[in-house]
């Protein structure tokens, strides 16, 4: 019976998400949203994909990785090469971007996930920088001046990728595999002694996270007309990290909300370039002072609805997909 209820909840969220998609699509095709808003919307969605994919690695599995922009870069360049150099269709390019990034994740994950805490952070940071330096020196992809890319990213693609990312990562988390990952975050030695193959799950989470970062890279590359290695520096990695930490480590809806809020804040602060970084930093400091566990802590948005339901015995709560 509970399974049935859960499926119902899933379909309700799905329909709501679809309605949201159609409304935005109508607004775009009716010309009611100008380019600025459309761009912000796309940027927001890409940031959500990045935040949710890093949430799986840091928030769920507890592996402190700060080289996420490296996977973003790998996905961006791989998909750009597919469309621009090899004239492949956009959908295939996105997929290839994700797969190449996942392969990079596997390659980096197997040796570096033996490391813990600070050491893992430094190793992944190093990976991000290596990717950037390599791209800077390869003439095939334009070196420092970057690579021009056709604008192919559109609302249906962005939305589909966003939805798939959220569903896949939520499904993974809410299964015995997700529990295995959380047990690693909570206590790796105890997880080991419960028969969990900790290395396998750390690498699995890392690869899935890298895959979606690569997908985000494909969307990113085909949205901005040009990609340059400087777009993928370690500051970009920190931006993504901040979404996850600010939203609350372990909360997917928290990561989504933080990605939305911070994208809005940083977009609208572009009008005040002198004070932009100061205000942005102040926002972060204030949130960390008053909500040290992040906006939602480890809770999910749905748990608030569930709480309400227990009181009023009312309707099924809205799912986080619709927040996007």
């Amino acid at each position: 019976m509970t399974t049935l209820k859960r499926i119902n909840g899933f379909w309700i969220s799905f329909v709501l998400a679809l309605v949201f998609f159609i409304v935005v699509q109508l607004l775009i095709s009716g010309g009611m949203l100008n380019t600025f808003y459309i761009n912000t919307l796309f940027f927001m969605a890409i940031n959500i994909i990045l935040a949710v994919s890093l949430h799986l690695i840091i928030g769920i599995t507890g592996q402190f990785s700060i080289g996420h922009a490296g996977f973003l870069a790998v996905g961006a360049y791989a998909s750009a090469i597919m469309t621009m150099k090899l004239q492949m269709p956009f959908a295939l390019s996105l997929l290839v971007g994700g797969i190449v990034a996942a392969a990079a994740g596997l390659l980096i994950g197997i040796p570096s996930l033996r490391l813990k805490g600070d050491y893992l952070a430094i190793a992944t940071l190093g990976f991000g920088e290596i990717v950037r330096i390599i791209l800077l020196n390869v003439d095939y992809v334009g070196g420092a001046s970057g690579m021009t890319v056709t604008h192919l990213t559109s609302w249906p693609w962005v939305f589909a990728c966003l939805l798939i990312t959220i569903i896949v990562i939520a499904n993974f988390t809410n299964s015995t595999h997700g529990r295995a990952c959380i047990s690693i975050r909570e206590d790796e030695i105890a997880a080991d002694s419960m028969g969990i193959n900790t290395t396998y799950y750390k690498v699995a989470a890392f690869v899935i996270g890298s895959f979606f970062a690569g997908i985000a890279g494909g969307l990113y590359a085909h949205n901005f007309y040009i990609i340059q290695p400087t777009n993928f520096g370690f500051l970009k990695s920190f931006d993504i990290l901040i979404f996850v930490v600010l939203g609350g480590l372990g909360s997917m809806s928290g990561a989504v909300i933080a990605a939305i809020l911070l994208t809005i804040v940083s977009t609208f602060l572009q009008d005040y370039p002198e004070t932009r970084m100061i205000i942005y930093s102040l926002v972060l400091i204030l949130v960390m002072i008053y909500r040290p566990k992040g906006l939602l802590g480890t809770r999910e948005l749905t748990s608030f609805f569930r709480l309400g339901k227990a009181v009023e015995g009312g309707k099924q709560g809205e799912n986080k997909q619709t927040v996007a």
Binding site: F172, T176, R179, A180, I189, G250
Partner: protein, 259 residues
Amino acid sequence: MKTNKPLLKANNVGIHFGGLKALSGINVELNAGELVGLIGPNGAGKTTFFNLLTGVYEPTEGSIVLDNEKLNGLAPYKITRKGISRTFQNIRLFGELSVLDNVKVAYHSLARHSIFSSIFRLPSHFSGEKEIEEKAIEFLKIFNLESFMYEKAKNLPYGQQRRLEIARALAAHPKLLLLDEPAAGMNPQETRELMNLIAFIREKFQLTILLIEHDMSLVMGVCERIYVLDHGQLIAHGTPEEIRNNPKVIEAYLGEEVS
């Protein structure tokens, strides 16, 4: 229930960290169904011995054999799957997970549905998760923990946390259960309950148990045989009665007699 069939054999096991010899020449034999105590002063190497048995450390000498299978060098999760499960001296529950999920984690190795089927919510995911959930709830009922099922593990009272840790270790279906100071921090009433619990699970799950404990009344009360460690070496071995009167043991615990 007790047999003379050896379940675990530690032959001449030792480990050194650099120049420091933590344990050496340990010979321990456990028969199936036995309840054996392991005692010794602080720093004697009791927990280190547990860590060797469960694969946290690899022994630098000797061999560990469970059911005629050598365990040296196996990863900890593989040793758990072969049938050794443990609790920890300082409780190591998955604090942010619910009580039910803590037990579910122990059932993970029985799950047959893959990551792929969970991501795409294939039928095998639902049947697999349902099976784990039913087994875990059934298990919590045995331990009278089902009323705390949805509580976060870190919010349980201390005694219940100990209980949950034992339940979780048993949910991994061990042949040999290692208990590392289960009565630490408990009052006499809780210790008595714990003794009953140990007797109960032993009967119910046909277990072999190796117990580290400082509470002498508990060790002497429930164990059939006792090994005594001091300074990384076995100094005595025998029935509780023999251990109580062994001069070496008395010396290790109380110091030498002044003559």
